[in-house]
């Protein structure tokens, strides 16, 4: 692998990312799946980086899942997204950050559609006005939340207390990155590093001291792909996709995976459990599985936050082996306790995958 060649590609896909004053829109599903991620993002951006970021309690879904499953027509999606723009406009902001990759893809697609077909924008404005009485300005800058962490990765690395290094051996941790299809596969120039060799997560991994694993099926779908999973009959295809990725990355012995997308994180994490139950095997040593973290959770670990405050107990694959490699101190007794010390409930022990 010639890294200089990748740098040439990366240099051609650099995007303008706003420096401050963000309007943040959350994901529909991330708060259920990885509840610490969005909280950690806001904590880092506000408290550590001192940036101004607001959200609006009235914000809704972008309709992404409904749109990609053909349940929501494009005109409706455009109008719902236009309402999100209106909320931003009403708050006096024009830099939008989306937490979800699919929202980022949906918004990008809509903005590009409006550029190519201005009549669709005019129609959307009409629908929104009729339905809600609202008006909106188009965001001056649109970023995915990972773009913001990428932009300030060096500051996070400098402020943080930890590196992506095995504290026992001193070796860099080997990290698989998975950016998610909707980040840059549709519009390569809207993502840092483009579509074929995306850099947004690699930049974080490199600057935080880790080593990136580039494995043959890196570009392959995580297994979500909307219809592959949402249509029940297709779920065999979904898990086959994920298995293909794990078999491909297995020889590289990755220490963990960082994802960019809610769906990717879910499927790369949960399907490891399902594959272990179906086939009696895992893809890491000692039946530990390969931990799958979001970029915000990873940034939180770099900052030295408590892993249970980050919500790492919500992952199916146990993160404890990774925490030990990183030298993170943690109290195993608190793993399934909430902030008030009440039990969150303990999941059933898997038959193959290690349960810490």
């Amino acid at each position: 692998m010639i890294n200089e060649g990748k740098k040439i590609v990366w240099s051609q896909y650099q995007k303008n990312i706003a420096n401050d004053h963000y309007f943040y829109i959350r994901s529909c599903i991330r708060q259920n799946l990885w509840p610490g991620s969005e909280t950690t993002f806001l904590k880092i951006v506000r408290n550590e980086l001192g940036k101004d970021v607001i959200e609006d309690a009235n914000h809704t879904t972008c309709t992404g899942i409904g749109y990609h499953t053909d349940l929501v027509p494009l005109e409706t999606t455009m109008t719902v997204v236009a309402r999100l723009f209106a909320l931003m406009t009403e708050r006096g902001y024009d830099n939008m950050i989306s937490s979800c990759i699919t929202s980022f893809g949906i918004i990008t697609e809509i903005l590009e559609t409006w550029k190519e077909f201005p009549e669709t924008e005019a129609k959307t404005r009409e629908y929104l006005k009729k339905a809600t009485g609202r008006e909106f300005k188009i965001p001056r800058n649109l970023a995915h939340a990972s773009d913001i962490i990428y932009k300030f990765r060096k500051e996070i690395g400098e402020k943080g207390s930890r590196k992506l290094v095995n504290v026992k051996t001193g070796e860099k941790l080997k990290v698989v990155e998975h950016i998610g299809c909707h980040y840059s596969k549709m519009f390569p120039h809207k993502g840092v590093g483009g579509a074929e060799f995306p850099y947004v997560l690699i930049g974080m991994i490199e600057d935080w001291g880790g080593e990136v694993v580039d494995y043959p099926e890196r570009r392959h779908c995580c297994g979500f792909g909307f219809r592959q999973y949402l249509v029940k009959a297709n779920r065999g295809f979904s898990i086959a996709c994920t298995k293909k990725k794990f078999e491909s990355m297995e020889p590289f012995k990755p220490d963990f995976i960082i994802t960019n997308c809610p769906g990717c994180n879910y499927f790369l994490d949960r399907w490891q459990y399902v594959l272990s139950e179906m086939e009696g095997r895992t893809f890491a040593e000692d039946e530990n599985g390969i931990p799958v973290l979001t970029y915000e959770e990873t940034a939180g670990l770099i900052m030295g936050y408590d892993p249970w405050d980050l919500g790492l107990q919500m992952h199916q694959v146990g993160v404890e082996p990774l925490l030990k490699k990183l030298g993170v101190e943690f109290d195993p007794q608190k793993k399934y306790l909430d902030k008030n010390g009440n039990s969150l409930g303990v999941p059933e022990k898997p038959s193959v995958l290690n349960f810490c």
Partner: protein, 342 residues
């Protein structure tokens, strides 16, 4: 007084036109930006369909120029051209030269395979271009992987940068199909135990004996042809290349490991062609080659009187077609100057 023809570009078309115009009795100046004549042909080992040595052809080109009284200006860039007194004043290097006609033969460049990011050229060590493979043949270098091992399986990807809307090149580069067949056979000649696969959209074997080469490659050399476009390449942990392709004849996707992947890079207009076109304000084709006055009836004149085009600066061509085109261009220049003189 003899008319003066200024030729820009010392590749096949420029050299052959210079030789012909000189024989016709014109005063000829040939400017070449490189230190040697012959252009891209210098990098080639053997030529289809007969596998004749390229050096033999460049040798003949040079020999034809030996007897001519033309002026050669090597390492010379053209920086300015002005219309003056019915002719042109050309700033070539540090000199200003008057000419009655200009013949542009600035040729082509091969497509930069890095633009097809999904093939990983410049990133994966065992992905090379057809030009690099030809250089290995020419230099007598062994065909080895980056680890210095003999490749057991070699893939050729046709149409890299040609007939590809994604990179903005809709046109066929004409010579890549037959070059792939030639190179595939040469690889089998050197590495008889290797497996060779060509991945193609369709094979454009338009020249005499090209079809015979295609047949020979299969019957004698066992080259495998798979109709389908490679969608992506990735590097395995051992440095081999994993490719994904749809076998459109079998109607199924195919995943294959190769030890060496050769990208058949197509033609694009050279930077010199682009620059001289802009300098003179010559019209371009939609593909950014120089546009001749008439696509059927006058393929050598341009929108500027006294400025002519020859060879691959106006479209992809084989060596044989480039020779023929250069001779025809020389005749067109003569016709123009004869009319001007009368």
């Amino acid at each position: 007084m003899k008319n003066h023809v200024f030729i820009i570009g010392g590749g096949v078309a420029g050299c052959e036109a210079a030789s012909q115009l000189s024989k016709m009795g014109f005063e000829v100046t040939l400017a070449e930006k490189e230190p040697v004549l012959g252009g891209k042909l210098n990098h080639w080992d053997r030529l289809f369909p007969s596998k004749r040595k390229a050096d033999e052809v460049t040798g003949i080109l040079s020999k034809n120029l030996e007897g001519s009284k033309l002026r050669l200006m090597m390492n010379t860039e053209i920086t300015r051209v002005q219309k003056q007194n019915g002719g042109y004043t050309i700033t070539a290097g540090s000199e200003e030269i008057m000419a009655d006609a200009i013949l542009i033969a600035t040729g082509y460049e091969t497509f930069d395979a890095r633009i097809k990011e999904e093939y990983g050229y410049g990133i994966y060590e065992n992905v090379i271009t057809s030009v690099e493979l030809e250089q290995r043949f020419k230099n007598g270098n062994k065909i080895l992987t980056s680890k210095g091992e003999e490749p057991k399986r070699i893939g050729f990807v046709h149409c890299v940068g040609s007939r590809d809307e994604k990179v903005g090149n809709h046109y066929c580069s004409q010579v890549c199909c037959v070059t792939a067949v030639k190179q595939a056979m040469e690889v089998k000649e050197i590495l008889p135990r290797s497996e060779v696969f060509c991945f193609y959209m369709d094979l454009r074997m338009f020249g005499l004996q090209f079809e015979d080469l295609y047949r020979e490659s299969q019957e004698k050399w066992g080259v495998n042809f798979i109709r389908g476009r490679v969608s992506e390449a990735a590097e395995n942990i051992d440095g081999t290349i994993l490719i994904k392709v749809e076998d459109t004849l079998a109607g199924r996707p195919l995943k294959m490991k190769v030890d060496l992947l050769v990208l058949m890079v197509g033609f694009v207009p050279s930077p010199g062609t682009h620059n001289i076109g802009k300098l003179l304000d010559i019209e371009f084709t939609p593909e950014n080659f120089l546009k001749p006055a008439d696509e059927h009836l006058d393929t050598h004149s341009t929108n500027l009187p006294g400025v002519f085009v020859a060879g691959t600066c106006k479209s992809p061509k084989t060596i044989a077609d480039t020779f023929a085109d250069a001779r025809a261009a020389a005749l067109k220049v003569k016709e123009y100057l004869d009319m001007k003189n009368n």
